[in-house]
Symmetry: C2
Subunit: 119 residues, 2 copies
């Protein structure tokens, strides 16, 4: 993943409202949620919500499809996946960074087996 693309994804998630939307959609699973449901849950004005949904869509973190009068949004797991891969590869790049924490175990795994280092 390109640095600029990663920065765009990070910036998109680097806003409380958008991060909330994204979390909500992740929780909702593959079915996703229609826009109005998101708006009601998070108490966002339609225009504001639309603005953030558009932003998240533009960078590819979510996508929406019409469903009669509604538009149903759901997360694009692959984009999130790639972002995490990007961050992880930068986290330790083959060297021990934080063996003590369980969170970064993706790294431990990678270090043990795969040697996929793309920078």
């Amino acid at each position: 993943m390109e640095l600029l693309t990663a920065a765009d994804l990070l910036a998109a998630l680097g806003h409380e409202s958008r991060l909330s939307i994204f979390r909500l959609l992740v929780e909702a699973g593959p079915e996703g949620l229609v826009a109005s449901a998101i708006g009601e849950t998070l108490g966002m004005a339609p225009a504001t919500l639309s603005f953030h949904l558009a932003h998240l869509s533009r960078v590819g973190l979510i996508s929406g499809q019409r469903e009669s009068r509604f538009i149903r949004y759901s997360t694009n797991y692959s984009a999130m996946d790639e972002l995490i891969a990007f961050l992880t590869s930068n986290c330790c790049h083959g060297q021990p960074c934080l063996p003590k924490t369980s969170a970064c175990d993706t790294t431990a795994k990678r270090r043990a087996g795969i040697t996929k280092s793309s920078s």
Copy 2:
């Protein structure tokens, strides 16, 4: 990790210059780099660099300590670790999201162990 904190970290990394700085420091390892070295490598004006270093420091992603006339910055791996943990837990939260990709293998690992009932 708090939602707001996560958003702050993501926003901090969501800028090309800062992401570049961060990557550079990660690559540099625990030793880190002095500010001027970063500035030369990335071709950033001192004031601009200082601005971004301050931002990254403020959110706890890096920290710097004086070393005679220089200030040596290095990554705070624990902050990065927590962020990745946050994203990972938000990416798949115990359910299969992307079994096909190798990148999100943290998920595969989690799926193998924990069985968090569907929401």
